[in-house]
Structure formats: C-alpha cells, structure tokens
C-alpha cells in the first residue's frame, strides 16, 4: 500500500515536552522562510491554546472553521478550512488551519475512536492537500494531539529552551519518541531533523552551559543540534503584531538564526 504519493512531500511535526519552548515561533518563521523558497506551506495548529492565530495576525476562528471541527466531522469530504495568511503583506502560499480550545475535547474523544491516533494521517491520505509542506504545531505535552501529529509526520523538529526543566523534558521526549515509534507501528519512522535550542541568551551562563552540553548529541546519538535561535524581544514584538520577524523588522539579525534549519529542510525536499 503506497501511502506517500498522494500526500504532501514533507510533513514536519514540531514537538516539545514543555510549554513556551518556541514551537509556534519556529512554525511561523519556517513557514515564511520556506515560502520564500517557493514552497507552499500549510500550518496546522494542534495546540488548544491556538497561538498560531495570534502569531499570524489572524482573526479568532468560528468553531466550524477549526481543526477540531475537521477532526470531529464524521462526514468530512476534504473541506480543510485553510486560511491564507499575511496576504496584506503580499505573501502568498502560506495557509493556516486554526486551533482552538475545542481541541481538548477532540483529544478526549479520539481515545475512544478505533483509529484515533491515526485520524489526521487518514484524513490527509484520503483528502490530500495541495501544499508542498505541512507543519504541525503541537501542544507542549506528550498526549493524544501530539501523537496525532506524530503518526502523520515525515519529519520532527524539537525546540528546546536551555533551562534545566526544558532540556530534561527534551531528553524524555526523545525516549518517548522511540517508544511511540514501536507502539504506533510507524512505518517508515519520521526522521528527527534535530533539536532547536531556543531563546538563547549568550550572556546567561546556564544557557551557554546547556548549549555546550547539547553539542555531543550529534556524535553520540546522530541527532543534529541546530544553531541556537537567540532570545530577542523583537520576536515577541513581531508575534504581537502577528508577523514573522522578517516582515516586522526585515534587517534584524535574529532573522538569520533559522538559516541552517531551512537548509536542512531544503536538503530533505531535494532528496525525496
């Protein structure tokens, strides 16, 4: 049974085991930078907090226009509720499927569904999207919604704050992933693109220390640790006006922090 021909080339799940690790920031910036490479992108907000709505400057969605409406729709026929974003800024090709608090209910109901964990994947297979790349922004917990993204993903990115709880959480996440690969019978396994150290302040000793400790992960576990995304209040400002940094402060240095990640994604596209 060939699964991949009809589905988007790359489906990237952004996971972390802690809130505030920078998932949504990473999601919107990757979407923007990939669209500059002429890739069309669909963003899926799997977080009940629905932060992608804010980060893209979108209007609060009607309940019927959300991801939970899609997942709960027994008669879904491919109406994906895509909303194009940043059109005022003359950006095209980036779409958003918005999240909402109703996703919490969805998560609870999925448990009782015979193919609950695979629902998103099944829908994407039956009603393929036209976009080149799908990005799944997950909540900061290792539960049903994250599993939903995992079964549908081809690649995984793990943002991690350089603080004790977050790095410890990232280690637990990795173990959880290997377990889930077996439990969910994922075939083929999604590829872990790497860890993305986020909100890095080079003047903070703890941050420097943890960044250093993460480096050997390539040699020891063959997992990439991307260059850190720096902590900048401009990221916060940009999200407040619902824009990526590159549109809000085009000349800001921090915009370049994503270069390697985008490069890695580009390589993956070209390999397929």
């Amino acid at each position: 049974m060939k699964l991949d021909n009809s589905m988007a080339r790359m489906r990237i799940a952004i996971l972390s085991n802690a809130g505030g690790a920078g998932k949504s920031t990473l999601a919107v910036h990757l979407a923007f930078l990939l669209s500059r490479l002429k890739q069309s992108v669909a963003l899926f907000d799997l977080d009940p907090q629905g932060s992608l709505t804010q980060f893209t400057g979108s209007e609060k969605p009607l309940p019927s226009s959300t991801l939970s409406a899609i997942l709960g729709d027994d008669n879904f026929l491919g109406n994906w509720r895509l909303k194009e974003v940043w059109t005022e800024q003359k950006v095209s090709g980036i779409y958003l499927i918005q999240g909402s608090i109703a996703l919490e209910q969805t998560a609870r109901e999925l448990v009782l569904h015979p193919r609950g964990a695979y629902l998103l994947k099944d829908l994407l297979q039956d009603y393929p999207l036209n976009q080149d790349i799908l990005i799944f922004d997950c909540p900061g917990t290792l539960g049903t919604l994250t599993t939903l993204a995992l079964t549908a993903a081809t690649h995984i990115l793990i943002p991690v704050q350089l603080e004790p709880k977050s790095t410890g959480g990232a280690m637990e996440l990795l173990k959880w992933l290997y377990d889930q690969f077996a439990k969910l019978r994922l075939e083929p396994r999604p590829k872990i693109l790497g860890l993305v150290p986020s909100q890095y302040d080079r003047y903070t000793a703890i941050h420097r220390n943890y960044l250093e400790q993460l480096q050997p992960i390539k040699a020891q576990l063959n997992l990439t640790c991307f260059p850190a995304i720096r902590n900048s209040k401009e990221f916060k400002n940009a999200s407040e006006v619902g824009l990526p940094l590159h549109l809000h402060r085009p000349s800001h240095e921090a915009g370049g922090d994503f270069k390697e990640i985008v490069s890695a994604i580009k390589n993956e596209i070209e390999r397929r």
Binding site: R108, V111, L142, Y178, R189
Partner: protein, 386 residues
C-alpha cells in the same frame, strides 16, 4: 552550579532506546521480506531471514504459550501437511526438544497467530505437548494492514503479561499509564473510579459491567455509550478510566475493589511484597498496625510491622493466623482488675512508712495482722493449688 555533563548521562540512556528501535526496524524489515518471498512462492532465502529475525529478537523474548492459544495463519502459503512429515517432526521434538521458538503475532484475548512454525505447532499437538516456545514479533503498520487478524491494537500495545504481575505492580502500572494517557492526576484516579463503581453498584449494574470486559473493542465502545446515556458514567474522566481498563480486559469493579486498595499500603509493606514475597492479602492486615493504633512512634511501628512480616513470611502463616496475630497486637489482653477493697488495701499497705520513727507497738500490730492474712491466703492457695 550545574552538574557538568548532566545531559551526556541521559544521552547514553537515549542511545539504548535508539538501538532497541533500530533492532525493531530490522525485524520489521525482515518480516516484510519473508512475507514477500512467501507471496512470490519463493522458498529460497526464507530460512536465512527467519534465522536472522530470531537472532535480532534474542533469547530473552522467548515465552511459553499454550498450544490452544495459538492459531494457524490462513494467509500463509503452505497448506498441506503430510501426516508422516508431522509425525517424524513430532518424534524429533520428543527426542531433541524444541531447538528454536516459533514466531507469532500477538492477538486479542492473549491469542497468537503463527508467522513461522506451523509444522512444529502441529507436531507438538500430535505428541501431546501442552505448550510450546514462542517469540511474539513486533509488527508495523504495513504488516498490520495486510493481516487483518492482527488489528486489535490495544492488547498488543500492552506488552506486559498481566497475569504475571502481582496486584500491587498492576495497580501502580495502571495508575501510571492512565495518568500519562489522559493527564488525570494519579491521586485522583482511584477516587474517580470508586464513585463510578458505587454508582454501578447502587443501580445493580455490576453484572453488565463484567460482561463488557470480554466484549470486542467496538462493543465496548458502544457499552460505554450506553453507560453514559444512562448516567452510570457521569464524567469524561470516568469514561476514560473505564475505557482503558476494559480495553485491557480488566474489570473496573475488581480493579477498584482489589488492586487499587493496595496503593495505600505503607512503603515498608510494598517493599516486603516485592522483595520478601509477602502476599498482598496478608499485607492488608499488617497495614492495620499504624503508629496511631499502636500508640508508638512511626519508626517503632515500622519495627513492629517488620517483625511481624518476618514471622509471617518465615513461618508461612495463613491469612487467619495473620489476622489473629494482628488483632492480638492491637488488643492486648487487659490486666485483671482487682476488687476495689483489695486494691485499696494494697495501696494503703504500700504507703506505710516502715521506719524507726513509727511506734514499735503499731508496727508489731501490723505485722501480726499481715501474718494472719498471709496464713489465710496460703491455706486458700494450697487447697486450690494455684
């Protein structure tokens, strides 16, 4: 100051998970290849791959499974088994024993579906074996979809052998899993379950609940719908806990009334259950020996419990003996109360100061009285031989 290399310790652990996952992937790949060869009716090369599968899985994964719990796989190639072939294989099994485990997939109700080894299975049945050595394979979505018999996931996902865990371990692992799965805090799970069971009991629906345990997944889902519609289950959390337990074919009522009771055992008792083989049923009685009831400190109570546990385990006490002993410790026999008169007399006699200050006449009189009484008491004791 952060511990240097705090993370690299964790890397090693993650590395182990990676290796395990890579081994699983190799096995899945080999199973696929064998399946392809079988489809193409190509005998050659199959055995080599089967051998490699066994190598990857390792001897630690071998279990003994009753022949009756194993089903032949209708999707597999070779269907004719010549009687002589099976008979001769049977003889060789008898002579040399089973050299290699057969390979299976796990299914619902603890049944197994044969992937490789049907001939050995048939031969074992012929010679009257009751069980056979088996290695159950991890399988992937691809294979799953090609073999609809293996579609019951939840039972497969639970890789524990439920019957091999004692009640305490089962209780703890259920709480951990339910908490992780649904985000319900661990302490609340038994309480939530209990209120639901009480409701079922009052409505006299516990029988219905037990029937649900052996239903299929779809039937269980519809049972839960009915329970909710009839207000037997009132919250999402209750539903989730019920759904989880039922999917593992555990009766929520039994879990509530037995296994979860053991969660409240003292740590020293839990330790004794695990390490000294103290039976859970006995532990429940020892649990009564709390510091409060014994009117001693915590550490003294622990010592008392420890001593009792040792006796129970070493002398292999029955439940009745344990219960009796616990009662004795909690309710020591009261010292007999003397009659008021005698107690008062003893008290006043004890109080008397025998000193040179006392009038010798008075002391002499006391001595005479006491001696007289002593004679009376001795006479009584002698006659009734105490």
């Amino acid at each position: 100051m952060i511990k240097k290399n705090a993370l690299s310790e964790q890397f090693a652990e993650i590395g182990a998970y990676q290796e395990l996952d890579e081994a699983r992937q190799r096995i899945e790949q080999l199973v696929l290849e064998v399946t392809e060869l079988r489809k193409a009716k190509q005998e050659e090369g199959q055995q080599e791959k089967l051998d490699r599968i066994l190598q990857e899985v390792g001897r630690s994964a071998i279990e003994r499974v009753l022949l009756d719990l194993i089903d032949p796989n209708p999707q597999q190639g070779r269907k004719t088994f010549h009687k002589q072939e099976i008979a001769s294989l049977g003889r060789s099994l008898e002579r040399d024993g089973q050299n290699e485990p057969i390979l299976t997939y796990k299914q619902e109700n603890d049944r197994h579906l044969i992937f490789d080894g049907e001939r050995r299975w048939r031969a074992a049945k012929e010679i009257g074996w009751s069980d056979i050595e088996v290695v159950a394979l991890p399988i992937s979505e691809k294979i799953l979809l090609e073999q609809p018999e293996t579609l019951r996931r939840k039972t497969l996902i639970s890789s524990r052998h439920k019957e091999k865990l004692n009640a305490l371990d089962l209780a703890e692992s259920l709480i951990a899993e339910i908490s992780a799965e649904y985000g319900i805090s661990r302490e609340r799970i038994p309480t939530i379950l209990n209120s639901a069971i009480v409701r079922f009991n009052r409505a006299k629906q516990l029988n219905r609940l037990s029937k649900s345990v052996t239903h299929s997944q779809e039937e269980q889902a519809s049972d839960l719908d009915s329970f909710r519609a009839e207000n037997l289950l009132k919250s999402k959390e209750e539903s989730q806990i019920f759904a989880y337990l039922l999917s593992l074919q555990l009766n929520p009522a039994s879990i509530a009334m037995q296994e979860f009771q053991y969660l409240n055992l003292f740590d020293d008792l839990k330790l004794a259950i695990r390490e000294l083989d103290l039976k859970v049923t006995h532990a429940k009685f020892v649990q009564r020996l709390t510091a409060e009831k014994l009117k001693v400190s915590e550490s003294e109570a622990k010592v008392i419990r420890g001593r009792l546990i040792q006796e129970i385990v070493e002398q292999d006490w029955s439940i009745a003996q344990t219960r009796q002993r616990v009662n004795e410790i909690l309710n020591p026999p009261q010292p007999t109360q003397f009659s008021k008169e005698i107690s008062a007399a003893i008290a006043s006699i004890t109080k008397i100061k025998v000193s040179p200050e006392e009038e010798p006449e008075a002391l002499k009189a006391l001595e005479t009285t006491l001696k007289k009484k002593l004679k009376e008491i001795a006479k009584l004791f002698n006659s009734t031989s105490h």
